[in-house]
Symmetry: D2
Subunit: 307 residues, 4 copies
């Protein structure tokens, strides 16, 4: 993943755009150093990408993996005074008391940030979970852009899962993608791109127009009949109830991308011996590097807009 590298690829066309981002960050802010505190691999890649962009980056809460990733582990409390800005993970906390830091040896109390929350920017994912508010607390996980960018690793994760589980090739296979939202759009684009025979379901007739214009077949979500080799469910509702599952021809592999409780009646699927794979929170699993850079870019956008 290299959104921002697209520049180097795109020569002229991107000179402006690349320059634009740098202006935002270098000129419009006084930030020279970031503390990346807590989180998983994504945060590590986020920090390393910040370093490549020329910032000083200090890692806190990665004691358990500092060796593996060759990081200098710092004590979080020491970083509070030292750094100009802070990046917390997504979600920033699970217990509303400590930073979500699976690689930390000791708990990192959120209270650490009370002293800076109104003075230095603190970037979090899902900031509503914080027990306090602050003038300088920003949430990088709420923008539509952030959601779309994360749909890319999600779609790729779904394809990787399908390639791994399906005993045929996706190329030439009959794939159904339910839903034409962020993930549905990008997933169907990629599936067609590798030569699958793609059908997309949507209840919106205007979506059908786009789907067909892009060389795919469109059906209504209320008509999920037909023969498919693989079904990717991106819709958050129970589309695949017993009735629909029974109406399917053959034994498609079903990959469910919808978060709990998902879009498939698994009990019915079992009875009909249809395989259903749950595929959740894929970005962090399949492409932590991309996910980390997405967080970095989201932080840059906030810096560009807010500061």
């Amino acid at each position: 993943m290299n959104d921002d590298d697209a520049g180097t690829v795109g020569a002229d066309a991107f000179v402006c755009s690349g320059f634009f981002y740098m202006v935002e960050v270098i000129l419009m802010t006084e930030i020279k150093s970031f503390a990346v505190i807590g989180g998983d691999k994504r945060q590590i890649y986020c920090g390393q990408s910040l370093q490549e962009d020329g910032f000083d980056v200090y890692f806190g809460g990665f004691d358990k993996c500092s060796e593996k990733y060759r990081l200098t582990a710092h004590k979080p409390d020491e970083l509070i005074g030292l750094c100009d800005a802070f990046i917390l993970p997504l979600p920033c906390t699970r217990d509303k008391l400590h930073v979500n830091a699976p690689f930390a040896e000791e708990n990192i109390p959120l209270s650490l940030f009370e002293s800076v929350k109104d003075k230095k920017p603190v970037f979090c994912g899902m900031k509503e979970r914080l027990p306090f508010e602050g003038q300088k607390i920003y949430d990088y996980s709420t923008s539509e852009e952030f959601a779309v960018l994360n749909a890319v690793p999600t779609a790729e994760g779904a394809i990787e899962t399908a390639m791994h589980e399906y005993e045929g090739t996706l190329n030439g296979s009959r794939c159904l993608v339910t839903g034409y939202g962020r993930i549905g759009k990008i997933l169907s684009f990629m599936l067609r791109g590798i030569g699958a025979d793609v059908t997309v379901s949507s209840q919106r007739k205007d979506a059908h127009a786009f789907i067909r214009a892009e060389g795919m077949k469109a059906i209504l979500s209320s008509e999920l009949c037909g023969r498919y080799d693989i079904i990717f469910n991106t819709a958050p509702s129970l589309l695949f109830d017993r009735k629909t599952l029974t109406s399917l021809v053959g034994s498609p592999l079903i990959i469910d991308l919808a978060s709990y409780p998902g879009g498939v009646d698994t009990k019915a699927a079992d009875d009909l011996s249809l395989r259903v794979m749950q595929a959740l929170s894929l970005p962090g699993k399949v492409a932590p590097k991309s996910a980390g850079i997405i967080i970095k870019n989201a932080v840059y956008n906030i810096l560009g807009e807010e500061l």
Copy 2:
């Protein structure tokens, strides 16, 4: 792997969808005959497509071209009592007194329809122009689907224009598409599809995420600098003022799809000897057959929903 099933797949998948439309039309309505009154080639294709679907279709207001298109020309007033439903063109009228009927030898007064407007369905484009209302008057031109479907012939018309005017090949050329709305999405998809090097501008960062995910470059609408061979403007605002035109590298061909007054300062373009092509109302010009079938499908959708 199922090469040779490819066909049947489509088949299956569409049985439902095709069937769905027929149910709508045959079961849910009593309509057996349509009168297609006024309009241009699009309306003729619309009527012929209705015939292929099994309806009786009578044409009124095509006297001047009835021979050329082998149509039986009927007198509009005779059709009022004869037919079950009526299709008027887009727009249905220009003078608010008569049907918009360029191929008619005599004016067709709108008043003809006053007697049926509450009893039989009358399908119009831009019905707000009618001097009267009616319980059975429907507008097929207002749905989002209709707009998206018409973006396809518009995009192709833009490509045909570019191929005709540009002395190089689009394949390998540097194309800029401004705007990522209906037309921008479909046009950029097609341009990438024929191997152009495509950049799309949008002011929305989430649009950038989609654009890059689909293998194109994205820039902000406020940064239209860079070197392009062809620029397609789909944005309705004056993006290409003198300042922007001056910042362009080389001498791109500019194809303006934005309706009057358009998105280009043509005076400045002249001064800079940049070629600007206006390309307007393309669907009817470049693909009347498609445009006619789009109208037919829009009518079907209304029949399915309203009746």
Copy 3:
């Protein structure tokens, strides 16, 4: 415009082709039953696909997995007299004495087939390994078509490997594919299709013309410098010697699809701490179903041409 005809189109177009295959098999041969003897999962899928096409199929040499795949295991010697035709695996033998049958509990001597080799068709992979010849022994593994068809699962296997090993997304990543032969063509097509930034190397200038026409970048095999995230080697020669590996910018993941000894100086790669993944005989591993159907179609082609 014919959205909803898409299905029927395929149908029409394929009637002939599908019909053609059936003619070959049903009319032009007297074969009613096949014996699938030896081999792995691919052969099982090959046999099951023959059953779906209406043939009687008997499996021999699958005792160890008959339960798992719900097969009736037959004793190979009993099938010789019973069946009209025989399908041996790829390769048909490893020791030149017995059928290559990893799932068989007892060795299956090739001598079994001596009695039928001139009377009934025996389809093998790599028949040159057989200790005898026969008028009715056919090799399904030698046609160019067979090789191209197997390039599809190979390319997908390479993509699955890359998705699994690379910590970013392929979408937006800089991929280099060395070689524009069967695998290079299909792999680069798929990579572009999922939105990677693809460069293909070839020593042939005419290949460059095709590569660029399809919207990718082309370089000479003698100029493998530049920055890539992932490199797929399909060329059978040592392209990546120490000198070339040293000239690479960054730390690309290298996926080597070239059979032993491969195209990478692994010692040098280690020294430069570049990760190299060997990815060999992918079709049977990642898509046994496709691989099995490919064998079946190859048998059909022979039946159509030879009998």
Copy 4:
């Protein structure tokens, strides 16, 4: 068309390649000036592109259009002594006595070049038409690369013709491309890219494998039945005889790209009232700029290899 510009687009990846071409031309030759003598628009673009690359270029035989294209017209005979190399058009001559120079006011005798043909490079198209041979006479029109590069403007010209003549959109239309050679490959790629439903015919089963891998349908050239909206013939033989034309469903538009006598029985087509468009020598007509740059690159390749 900008093969060589692909460099600017492709950043890093192309540094090497771009550099490579320059080395060839600047270091490996003593050529400082070119004379472009005779030919049409293509030759003018070829010369202008040479100028952009830093060469001195003199135009001879363009008196009739020198004003329109702002060229300084030179007398050919004066250029013989003045320039280091000469570029003649494709074909270099029609009457075997004079240069093929439609824009020249006076005939340009080929004999002019007798004095230099062994000393300075003379680049021609179809040099076999020259009445003499020479140690330094090179033909830029014979390489496979040259043929493939010209297939791009040919394919685009075919698409432009189809867009102009067909009353529907290519997007969603059923297109048949006969033949999977240079033009068939690039044309089918582009048609799929703009969302057409593409079937390609070929007599080679291995071609079918590639065609299907790229998400299109494949049929045998001996089975050209089925329903199509547009048929593109690239095959040089009479595929569309009366029998085949009669077997077609509906009334497809036929675009014949095969040179005289073409691939269609036009008499039979008339009888069946099928429209047939001849589309020949498209590169010079639809994309003279691309065609000119293709000639320049072919000259560069010869310079790199021969000198």
